[in-house]
Subunit: 411 residues, 3 copies
Amino acid sequence: MAGSPRRTAGRRLQLPLLCLLLQGATAILFAVFVRYNHETDAALWHWHNHSNADNEFYFRYPSFQDVHTMIFVGFGFLMVFLQRYGFSSVGFTFLSAAFALQWSTLVQGFFHSFHRGHIHVGVESLLRVKDAGGSMTIHAFGAYFGLVLSRVLYRPQLEKSKHRQGSVYHSDLFAMIGTIFLWIFWPSFNSAPTTLGDGQHRSALNTYYSLTASTLSTFALSALVGRDGRLDMVHIQNAALAGGVVVGTSAEMMLTPFGALVAGFLAGTVSTLGYKFFTPTLESKLKVQDTCGVHNLHGMPGVLGALLGVLVAGLATHEAYGDGLESVFPLLAKGQRSATSQAMHQLFGLFVTLIFASVGGSLGGLLLRLPFLDAPPDSQCYEDQVYWEVPREHEDLAQGPLRAEELETRA
Amino acid sequence: MAGSPRRTAGRRLQLPLLCLLLQGATAILFAVFVRYNHETDAALWHWHNHSNADNEFYFRYPSFQDVHTMIFVGFGFLMVFLQRYGFSSVGFTFLSAAFALQWSTLVQGFFHSFHRGHIHVGVESLLRVKDAGGSMTIHAFGAYFGLVLSRVLYRPQLEKSKHRQGSVYHSDLFAMIGTIFLWIFWPSFNSAPTTLGDGQHRSALNTYYSLTASTLSTFALSALVGRDGRLDMVHIQNAALAGGVVVGTSAEMMLTPFGALVAGFLAGTVSTLGYKFFTPTLESKLKVQDTCGVHNLHGMPGVLGALLGVLVAGLATHEAYGDGLESVFPLLAKGQRSATSQAMHQLFGLFVTLIFASVGGSLGGLLLRLPFLDAPPDSQCYEDQVYWEVPREHEDLAQGPLRAEELETRA
Amino acid sequence: MAGSPRRTAGRRLQLPLLCLLLQGATAILFAVFVRYNHETDAALWHWHNHSNADNEFYFRYPSFQDVHTMIFVGFGFLMVFLQRYGFSSVGFTFLSAAFALQWSTLVQGFFHSFHRGHIHVGVESLLRVKDAGGSMTIHAFGAYFGLVLSRVLYRPQLEKSKHRQGSVYHSDLFAMIGTIFLWIFWPSFNSAPTTLGDGQHRSALNTYYSLTASTLSTFALSALVGRDGRLDMVHIQNAALAGGVVVGTSAEMMLTPFGALVAGFLAGTVSTLGYKFFTPTLESKLKVQDTCGVHNLHGMPGVLGALLGVLVAGLATHEAYGDGLESVFPLLAKGQRSATSQAMHQLFGLFVTLIFASVGGSLGGLLLRLPFLDAPPDSQCYEDQVYWEVPREHEDLAQGPLRAEELETRA
């Protein structure tokens, strides 16, 4: 058919161009018009004195339930994309999160420490590094810990399980449940540990802007690099969330709405390109098997987010933060540290995080290789049946429903 | 089998009779006993002074997160009912909502304008017409805009894609995720733009009542008109929500709980009958292809809701509203407009909405027919594969799980 | 293969041992270190005066929306595990909950009575028995009502529908949506009817602890009793929630965090063992067909919870409750009843509940056996098609997606 090549070329460019043009135009308008203390925003974000407004609509303060929804539903279902590993994904997330809730009580109050481990306490408290949403201490740490661990556990024969490594149609839809609940509650997650009031509002708002931009750039890039301009569900499920990761350090700072858009756009781009081009290399060259693409969603955007934190901290001034400087950078407010010094501390925080992650991942990997720990063989990876009773699909369902006459006859 | 015809007749009437009798009896009791300022309600809905109560349970103020859940999860999954269009439904809802969030900041504050476009600002602000939940400016406008657009884009050969136009078993279950989250958060949506406090409580309460009644009438009517008395998932997924649409204009007014029940019951009835009898005619006679039945969920209930607003506004008195008149009908409170005049303005608002929708839909349709815009051929509609990489279903899943012995042998 | 038996034995013990060791160690640390009025907790749970804190994170007060999510999403999807009964599970839950919302307005305010019927009002109000989360009046009552009813409706030929009684892979994943939303909002449910402030915080916190422990014990026991150490989805979907049931009576009391862990652990254990060993006996010996295992999730944990309430009420002292005694046990605070007397009342409440449930279940069963009520034949149980139009699965989906060339050719 004559029109086909042109149609294919058109399809490849149509969605990317639309997304990029719209995002570009919007970003310019943001740069020119949108400010935190624009009068509409001020009215909108003003929390305590709402009785005078005739039209109020809230960002809800982050709560246990919001973050639990994010973790149990979001993380649990995101990994259900694997066609034969859904029970394990949702089940083991459930088990781990339940245990983490108990353990967090012991460590540091009920929930405060749920989503951040000792490394966080170490880096943030001791060095006075800011990292509220955890670009460094959650995402970069977790990703590189896991990738180093995966390197130690490298399975050269894993292609024996290759046929189970992809998704099926409905498993991708389950995974989208995870993606969407993560997207909705990521602003709550990033703002939960920040200062009540202005700090939480700014964190949430920056996270929203960044997530919208990473969603747009992910769709644009996914179509651009896809076969015949087709979108890839793996990108949408994951890279669209990179905007939440990349502002994990700087969301509570005066990043500006325009800055949040740019950061999110870059994160979605880097993450999508990572899935397309870097993940295959990671396995073939570096012998790191990264099934879920944590390097693309958590690793690179986490490091980017840490560097963004260095930049935004280095630009902090008394003018830009006003009275809020005390809560965001207490040492700056007291004059005990300069902005440049804060930036250097942030950079050092990233360095320490990566060291801890590498050492921890290596030790963890060696521990898991202990012979008495039972691991599934290479041919049985990504297979629920190793750990779960899996129902035998019933022939009736495959055959389709009975016809009405059959129903009556059987009755 | 002798009992079969009687059984079929019995089944056809059993559920409808049960629903109708229960709803009738409940509605009568509502008319006689339930008032907004019944002492139990007053205690329940009293918001600010809760410290004396020993038993409090809240309607939560509408928040970003609630409405995001409604839009991303609700709208996203509702359309997944199509067997081969799930990726597009959830994916493109995700993309559009993310962009709408950015754009809304530019238009009018962060979220206030997210769910209402310029037409709303035009109608509500300039004419001083009330339409908080958007029966007119969201539902009727959106539906008739889309239906006119669909008329312009009419595809006579669309039956080539007929086999993909229905659902499969699991796609209907995914769609129910959408329905249920929409149902839960519709009261938040309708009450979000109304006055904080009493206004939001009344809006939410009326929406709840209306939704419960449309759910009951949908089940009753669906079984009544179904083959052998069987329920139809399309009705349950959509018409059950018509109660939220029909009170979009009047939910903040003194509709009374009984009025909300009646409105919801009618909306569910009209919507279900529309799916059964009107949608086929719409395509065959009027050449409008309405795959999701927007005319039944948004069009007719939206117009009904606008007319209900005319009626309830026309009945407004200082006695019924008390001090609340100022917030619901400010011009009436100031004596600048009579109730009848307000009613006429409401009717004129509907008229303007429908004109705008028709003109806008026509222009939009002509725009989309521009030759350089690439549309899928008639045989490839409702098909994710045009835009998405779709995984090949793996034979292992169809064959059912391995037996334990096979697992051990392969290991 | 030589290693197989050892591998199987290792797998059977690995997960249970891990769970039991971690839970044991954590429980000991809880017993030694964790107190309600530990300074971190006090800061965390302090509700009204949050302006001084620099790091706040909330348990959100229970709301309509939370409990609706629990009921519509949670209950609705939990029962979707049946391979051919998903439409009925989610649909009829939807219908019943919508009607219950209307009815609750008539009975006792808008939502207060939604999740508790007359029996609750009878037992709690008349006898002054505490049962906020409904171990007795919701769970034990509902379970034994239903089990007695199921005994009266016993179908000896039900094995004709046996092939439809299990799950398929994706129906189990849908059910996990139900489980997880129930888990997240169970603390809101148990705390909704308790006293605002400290009472709600304590109820929620105890419910969280109990749920985490029942989740851990369910995974441990499920693997321990499973074939080859495999986990069973039925256990995870249900028994993991038994921790919410077992503290339904005592969550608002001074159960202590350690007490909540122990109670939850026991409930998960009893529930899992019930699914494995008791449900088959229940059918074969007692002629009670308990498809969803309500005896394991609601019956036994409900009775256990009532007995736990007897114990904790009997141990109540002025020292332990301080000023809170007035809200939890008003008659004790006024000196009109001793702790022992309160415990006896609690025990009598359980007795009355079980009598009411048995009589009510018998009458309900006899009512449903009336000949004009149409029930599906034994061969058509667990089959949506009796009540619903069920889509015929399309051959295209089974065949997998088209290849790119086919797409172009067809176009």
